[in-house]
């Protein structure tokens, strides 16, 4: 059968779930990582830089008090369901003025529209499998678009896989016009494999195929240096100390003012990072296991 004839370095979902998630990640820790509000508190305690929290909304009756707070925000804000995943339900806003809330993209929302949206988040509409959710309102970060390469359609981020406390894999995710400015691989973003030691990009994929130049700007993708990777790796290690996951994905964005910030921690990070690095997880995990 599949995978029998030739030992594949690549981990599929079965192997990830059984040999990594089930082995290293206790259910409580997974629940913690899936809860953005709780995760943020745990990370902040360990000194990991995270976006500033404006409000945590747990009940529908708290929604009314939110608008006055938002009107005082000068740098924009983000609303997200605390248990959402893959960016579902997340909306960026530039500011709130009396009567309206202005999203980063598109027409102004009336305050009524905005309240309805927050209520939908609270009702768990974007959180599959949960009847209710909480809403996290954060200060919008000021992401550095030019962190990895120039001329991107949106802010890039860095995904680091941490296995038993040590970073083992790193990938930069670059938005494209096709991905609508989001650093999302399955929406058509570019995945850049980063060598942990040299901080240089050594392989790139888009739509699961190898590429060498960015589709929008034509800028070369290989041999690019990730500035401040050492700091990012240290932050990823700190995340592993804060949240007891033996196998985790840490997502980092660089803020123009504050530098690298952890925006999310994932208990079941996707497997596309293997394609971006053109190496299977087995090849980076096995040596560690043998040495134990």
């Amino acid at each position: 059968m599949f995978g029998f004839r030739k030992p594949l370095d690549a981990y599929g979902m079965n192997r990830r779930n059984r040999d990594l998630v089930l082995l290293h990640n206790p259910p409580r820790a997974i629940a913690l990582a899936n809860d953005k509000i709780a995760t943020k508190r745990a990370l902040a305690k360990e000194g990991v830089p995270v976006p500033a929290t404006i409000a945590e909304i747990r009940r529908h009756r708290d929604v009314a008090a939110l608008l006055p707070i938002l009107r005082e925000q000068r740098h924009g804000f983000v609303c997200k369901p605390s248990h959402g995943s893959q960016g579902r339900g997340v909306t960026l806003f530039t500011r709130a003025i009396p009567g309206y809330v202005l999203p980063l993209h598109g027409e102004p929302w009336s305050e009524y529209d905005f309240t309805y949206y927050v209520c939908r988040l609270l009702s768990g509409e974007y959180t599959v499998g949960r009847p209710l959710d909480e809403v996290l309102v954060e200060e919008k970060i000021n992401p550095d678009r030019g962190w990895i390469i120039a001329d991107l359609a949106g802010p890039p981020d860095l995904r680091i896989i941490v296995h038993e406390g040590e970073p083992v894999f790193c990938m930069a995710r670059l938005p494209t016009i096709a991905s609508e400015g989001r650093a999302n691989l399955h929406k058509g973003g570019v995945g850049l494999g980063i060598d942990l030691r040299t901080a240089l990009s050594h392989h790139a994929i888009m739509k699961e195929k190898s590429v060498s130049h960015h589709p929008d700007s034509g800028n070369p993708l290989l041999g690019q240096r990730v500035e401040g990777l050492a700091d990012c790796l240290a932050m990823a290690k700190a995340c592993a100390r804060a949240i007891p996951l033996g196998y985790m994905g840490v997502d980092i964005i660089r803020d123009r003012d504050r530098g690298p910030i952890v925006i999310e921690v994932n208990a079941r990070p996707g497997l596309a990072i293997q394609l971006a690095n053109s190496r299977g997880l087995a090849s980076v995990l096995r040596p560690r296991r043998d040495s134990e």
Binding site: G12, N14, E125, L271, S278
Partner: protein, 530 residues
């Protein structure tokens, strides 16, 4: 080769398989357990419960019992009654007799029957015979409520089929009159042939008495037949039809439900002639109820053939029958683990993602109730309704759960409409959309609308189709009667199902759908950048 499986899990799975084999071998060899290997046949269990309140005197109850004929078999029967002497006459009349009966007593009669539909060709252009044997002549004479010599009846019979008309045409015309021209009404109490003719409307009994009377008036021996309509139901009423003697055999005619020279599978014959199915002595309080359940007879046979076997867990199930738990239900329950394994295979080996966890298994169970084609139709129709309702109410500002409630309401309404329309159009199977499929389809439609909201239309449609195919695979596995018989005979086979999932659950190879994606990582060795 085995590196993608968990060693511990494989060992446990092997041990479980060995244990299963040992139990089966022990049952077969040491305990002489006989699994029935015959093809299963459908049958009906017919149960008559009678409650009797005695007043101290004689109590005599007679019931005409199912007859064995070329289209009807009584596989097993039995009765249970305290304080009664029970006898069966050669003419298949069961009799419960008590000399002095006081207090409440209950009598239960049980039979397992199999019936077949039958059609009888009628001869063309054959004259009505003028002489019959003595035995048949009784079927030409008038009776109390079959007044075949009444002038109005004779006149009607002559008007419909003048003397000289051939036997087939005569029967056709008389039957058509009773079927089409006499309106069916549900009335209690006796209705005579003459009354039916005068009023132009009659109960089932009245229609048949009129038909029999007219046949006799035309010189064709005829009689009534009494029986039960076999359907999953509890009932008090029996059903009557007629029989005409043509060419040396009795031809069935049902002017109530429109069966000419044919008898459907669901008719179970209990008695010949214009008789009551149940008769009883006076001065006793009496109530009765028929309970009819369709079931596979095979498990029954397996149970019977191993009645003395100490390892026969099915023995317990015979007790469940007391509470009207059908074998069909037990079958469904036994097959659910098999369906669950199919889902595990689909998700972890093939790598497709249907709705819910075991939703496809439950959808498959509901297909079992509705039939596959109708179930498939209902499944996609429900998804369409859910999508349409969702699209049209998205513009309103509704909170999540109430919106889902609205969608489920529309889904349920459309399932009801579907049932009503299919009954109107004569597809009685459409009425089979019962509670369970309704609940399952409503739940699936909820998942469907959730997926539209969260992942978009394409993903929702893809997952719907996936769910359907996985459900179809579950259905195919779960409906295999051989598998059902095997599991009923050897429930320990479910341990092998556990073993199968130990193997699937410890397999860490690439899923079929992932294989293409990651194949590249094995095709060429990538030097590890140092």
């Amino acid at each position: 080769m085995l590196r993608n499986f968990g060693g511990k899990e494989l060992l446990i799975a092997l041990a479980i398989c060995a244990l299963t084999a040992v139990i089966i071998a022990y049952k077969v060899v040491a305990l002489d357990y006989t699994p029935a290997l015959l093809e299963p046949e459908d049958g009906y269990s017919v149960r008559l419960s009678m409650d009797v309140q005695g007043s101290g005197g004689v109590c005599d109850i007679k019931v005409t019992l199912p007859i064995s004929s070329d289209r009807q078999t009584v596989l097993r029967e039995g009765q249970n009654a305290d304080g009664f002497r029970y006898t069966i006459s050669p003419g298949r009349v069961g009799r419960w007799y008590a000399k002095e009966l006081a207090d409440r007593h209950s009598i239960a009669y049980y039979a397992m029957v199999q019936t077949q539909a039958a059609k009888y060709p009628l001869p063309q252009d054959e004259a009505i015979p003028t002489t019959y044997t003595l035995a048949l002549q009784a079927n030409l004479a008038p009776e109390e409520r079959i007044e075949s010599e009444d002038p109005a009846i004779v006149a009607k019979a002559r008007e419909l089929a003048p003397p000289g008309t051939d036997v087939r045409t005569t029967i056709e015309r008389l039957y058509d009159f009773a079927y089409q021209k006499v309106t069916y009404i549900a009335v209690k109490g006796p209705s005579e042939a003459t009354t039916a003719l005068a009023l132009g409307e009659a109960s089932c009994n009245g229609k048949n008495r009129l038909l029999v009377a007219m046949l006799r008036a035309s010189g064709i021996p005829a009689r009534m037949a009494n029986g039960l309509i076999l359907e999953n139901a509890g009932k008090r009423t029996t059903h009557a039809w007629s029989e005409a003697w043509v060419d040396g055999r009795w031809i069935p005619l049902c002017p109530t439900n429109g069966y000419f020279a044919e008898i459907p599978e669901k008719y179970l014959e209990l008695a010949k002639g214009d008789v009551s199915v149940i008769t009883r002595s006076k001065n006793v309080g009496f109530d009765w109820r028929w309970r009819i359940n369709r079931q596979l007879s095979q498990p029954q046979r397996v149970i019977q053939s191993n009645a003395e076997n100490p390892l026969n867990v099915l023995q317990t199930w015979t007790a469940l029958k007391e509470y009207h738990i059908s074998y069909d239900l037990i079958m469904v329950i036994l097959m659910i683990p098999i369906g669950a394994t199919i889902v595990a295979l689909a998700r972890n080996v093939v790598g497709v993602v249907p709705f819910g966890t075991f939703m496809p298994t439950l959808v498959a169970v509901s297909f079992r109730e509705t039939g596959f084609l109708l179930g498939a139709l209902a499944f996609f129709a429900v998804m369409l309704v859910a999508a349409a309702v969702n699209a049209s109410i998205m513009r309103l500002r509704l909170l999540h759960i109430p919106r889902l409630a609205i969608i489920i309401t529309f889904v349920v309404m459309s399932i009801l409409l579907f049932s009503v329309v299919s009954i109107r159009l004569g597809f009685t199977k459409g009425a089979a959309i019962s509670l369970f499929p309704m609940a399952i389809l409503s739940l699936t439609s909820e998942r469907f609308t959730m997926t539209i909201l969260v992942d978009g239309w394409r993903a929702a449609i893809r997952r719907t189709v996936t769910t359907f195919f996985v459900a179809a695979a579950c259905y195919a596995a779960m409906r295999s009667t051989h598998l059902q018989i095997a599991i009923v005979a050897f429930p320990e086979l479910l341990l092998a199902n556990v073993a199968a999932n130990l193997v699937i659950g410890s397999w860490t190879g690439l899923r079929l759908t992932e294989y293409r994606r990651f194949r590249a990582l094995a095709d060429h060795d990538n030097p590890v950048p140092e």
